[in-house]
Amino acid sequence: MTNRLKSTRSITRKVDRVKNLAFIIAMVLLVTTLLLDIFVIEMIFDLLTYLYIALGLLFVRYGIPLLYASRRLIQYYWQRAIKNKLAVGGLVFILLLILLAFIGPLFTVDPTAVNFDEKNLPPLGFTIEESVYKIETKQFITSRITGTSEHPLGTDDKGRDLLAMIVSGTRVSLQVGLFATGIAIILGTLIGVSAAYLGGKTDNILMRFTDIMMTFPFFLLLVFIVFIFGPNLALIVIVIGLTGWTGTARLIRSESLSLRTREFVMASKALGASDRRIILSHLIPNVISLIIVIATLSIPGVILAEAALSFIGLGDPSVASWGMILKAGQQNLDTTWWVAVAPGIMLFLTVLAFNFLGDGLRDAFDPRSNI
């Protein structure tokens, strides 16, 4: 009987080794293309896409096995989560959004195509007066323009199609939301769990460090760094990620502290499992539920932070994120109101959806709430 046990263990170890190998190769490949990109050929991908691939690889290597390990748990919580109608509504909207971000660009015009003749077109079904000043006569020539079906949501002051900009903005806002939260969650979890598990001096140092990071006024710090190094979307994402993890770290630390004393952790320790093994295979899976909740609740905050940065003029000018469209539209709110209204509504609905989903999940994962 024992050799069957031994053989299964050796198989899983072999599979692990293959998985590790594949992961390392992929990472090496990614880094070489990055180096190539910087020094040799200019701009194969932009920085964000690298981040995209790196996080994707990380997720495949560690994320999926973790989720797979606690799939029964997640399946159970999933049933509880469906009860909350608002959460389901939120989830459906988010899935639509992700679909829109990928499929959308195929069905819409090029968002960067400028055409001054079609400047400030109102949305379909609306007509506005557009007047141009004539210096000779010192009079205005006003002409009425009505919305065309070609630009259902109208155009901005450069004649760019608003619908196309909103669609491309979706991808940007989701990227910002997911990456920044991803970085913050990974950092928060690692620091939280290791602080709780290792305890003693390391716990003290890590928590003091968290204290210092937490007392920095988050938005002031963000504006400061973006102002110094110039507004670049990748930088914004990384800075939000690197400064937004403190809340997560604290929550996960308190959760893992209660887990650490639980019998099953003691048991695996008694069986001689290494600390890393315990953290990875025991503590983190049990904290997964908390992580998912924190993630869905912090994504809206991050999206709004990017929009706020754009509002005060520190958004990345080369990227048509909702925040940037909103800022441009907001200056002429009384004349071309639709340019500000469209991104405003999209921001509102997306943040609302994530909030509902997060709240529904929190209720589902909270054993005390009787669903």
């Binding site: 608002l86 204290d211 937490m214 007392t215 920095f216 006024p217 110094i228 809206p300 609302l352």
Partner: protein, 325 residues
């Protein structure tokens, strides 16, 4: 008996707060000077326009601001001045930093304070209501209403409110009038729109945490005892249950207070023209006004630490089981 360990605990925490504030000060002090921009930049284009040799004059101006000396020397000088209570001179506003902060902190404080109260009262009421009637229709409506606040980008909401109420309906002035005395009713009236803008952002936090804190305590046995004693439902919920739910709530209210101090408040200040610390600190960043940036960061950090301390102390009064000795 209680007072002794509480006093020692407070002293320990105060020392700890001073240490953290000092750490924040040092980090900001260095970080501010490491960026590529310098306070003398604004002279750059003017000097060049005069056809003057920019580098020579720039060096002189940087010497005037004292930013040309090595960082540790500037730091020592800064700390010795700080010892004498001199937070330095603000270049971008031509007044002493302390005077600047003394003149403007009240505007930010009143905005944040009133918004927190507004959000706390409404948020807690909604939270209790939707907890008592969990998963009923009203629970969904209440949650939906409170989430609207947090989901609307508050700078967008602010502009909309001004266009609607100040311009079209003419009920409010379009900007904050500093000539009105702070305690006057007129000042309260002109704060209504900014408080709504900032407050709705905090509303969802209070509702959500009140609801979960209430849910947790609604099922406890002492609720049945209270009802068995024939107490009216209002007393059972309002006194017995809420009194226990307040504990986690205090943490959240205080934590929220700390984190949103700058984010939402700054944008609300810009839109409604409230000359609070939010605007001062961000304009200082854009103008490379090191003294103001460091001062504001340190003060806000110390404020957040004090808020945390007050939270922990209120814990001991709220829950007799907690002691920190």
């Amino acid at each position: 008996m209680k007072k002794t360990w509480l006093r020692d605990y407070i002293i320990k925490r105060l020392l700890y707060a001073i240490f953290i504030a000092w750490a924040v000060l040092t980090v900001t002090f260095v970080m501010v000077r490491v960026g590529p921009t310098s306070p003398a930049d604004k002279y750059l284009s003017n000097l060049a326009a005069q056809g003057q040799d920019t580098s020579q004059v720039m060096a002189a101006i940087e010497a005037r601001y004292g930013v040309d000396r090595p960082i540790y020397e500037q730091y020592l000088n800064y700390i010795t001045n700080l010892g004498r209570g001199d937070w330095g001179w603000s270049l971008s506003t031509s007044m002493s930093v302390m005077e600047l902060i003394k003149a403007h902190w009240i505007y930010s404080f009143q905005l944040i304070f009133l918004s927190s109260i507004f959000a706390a009262i409404i948020g807690i009421l909604i939270g209790i209501y939707s907890a008592v009637r969990q998963y009923s229709k009203t629970d969904y409506i209440a949650t939906f209403f409170s989430f609207i606040g947090i989901s609307i980008p508050n700078f967008w909401l602010g502009v909309m409110l001004i266009l609607l109420f100040s311009v079209n309906l003419g009920l409010f002035k379009t900007y904050y009038d500093t000539s009105l005395s702070l305690l006057s009713l007129a000042n309260l009236k002109q704060l209504i729109l900014p408080v709504i803008t900032l407050g709705t952002g905090m509303l969802a936090g209070y509702t959500r945490y009140t609801r979960s804190a209430m849910l947790e305590n609604l099922r406890k046995d002492f609720v049945k005892t209270a009802r068995a004693k024939g107490l009216p439902e209002r007393t059972v919920i309002g006194k017995h249950v809420f009194r226990n739910a307040v504990l986690p709530l205090v943490t959240i209210i205080m934590f929220d207070l700390g984190s949103i101090v700058f984010g939402g408040a700054y944008l609300t200040e810009i839109i409604f023209g409230i000359p609070g610390l939010g605007q001062i600190s961000f304009n200082a960043i854009f103008a490379d006004d090191y003294a103001v940036v460091v001062a504001v960061t340190v003060i806000s950090a110390f404020l957040i630490l004090m808020i945390n301390l007050i939270t922990d102390i209120t814990y001991t009064y709220l829950d007799p089981r907690i002691r920190y000795d």
